[in-house]
Symmetry: C2
């Protein structure tokens, strides 16, 4: 998985890393700032590694300030990610529409109760249709 987009999605596929990005969205923070909320759950080197994943994905840049490493969020790779997802927007808006449609239907037809009920509903493992 070497392409940029995969790396971006991969980096986002972890709640710790997303939380770190959320923190960085509030402003620069050094490593121990970023680590603080997680030090009960994991060690500092674990944080360093997560940060490295974010850096490799280009989502975070690190600079130097004495012994500190102030980190900065770089949103650029997220643009390509949203651009990719944008192509699929219709596929969730469509289903929401259908949900709305469905809700209208059920509320409207509340009188027309229990018509057909025992048509093979479950797995119907044996055959098709």
């Amino acid at each position: 998985m070497h392409d940029q987009l995969s790396q971006t999605f991969q980096a986002l596929a972890d709640p710790t890393r997303r939380a770190m990005l959320a923190k960085l969205s509030l402003g620069e923070a050094n490593v121990s700032d970023l680590a603080k909320p997680f030090l009960k759950e994991m060690s500092l080197p674990a944080i360093t590694k997560h940060l490295k994943v974010l850096e490799n994905a280009g989502l975070v840049t690190k600079s130097r300030d004495a012994q500190y490493r102030p980190c900065k969020l770089n949103g650029a790779p997220l643009k390509d990610a949203t651009d990719w997802m944008e192509h699929y927007r219709i596929f969730w808006e469509a289903s929401l529409d259908r949900l709305g449609e469905y809700l209208k239907t059920v509320t409207a037809k509340e009188k027309e109760t229990t018509k057909k009920k025992k048509t093979a509903k479950g797995k119907n493992h044996g055959r098709k249709k």
Copy 2:
């Protein structure tokens, strides 16, 4: 990594799986349809596994039609993913805006040449330097 959002991003973090979604965005397709473009690079069971990842992430649903398994794209999980990313939009538009700003500036102020140039520009977070 058990949360839905992580699973969604994880599923998207692979070009084969994204290509399968792209194909499904054109309409239903059964497993061998989906596999066809990749059978030179990988085996059918590999495709089955990728498909399973997409199913587990809720991005694809599979039904039965005789020996075929028609697959359908379900965009719903992508909504949460884009919603998440939406919070960061400013972080890529910011840089693009600054680019636009910059472009306006240079073209507009082409007469007013080189005014102030060396005012501390960076973050200068801690202190040093």
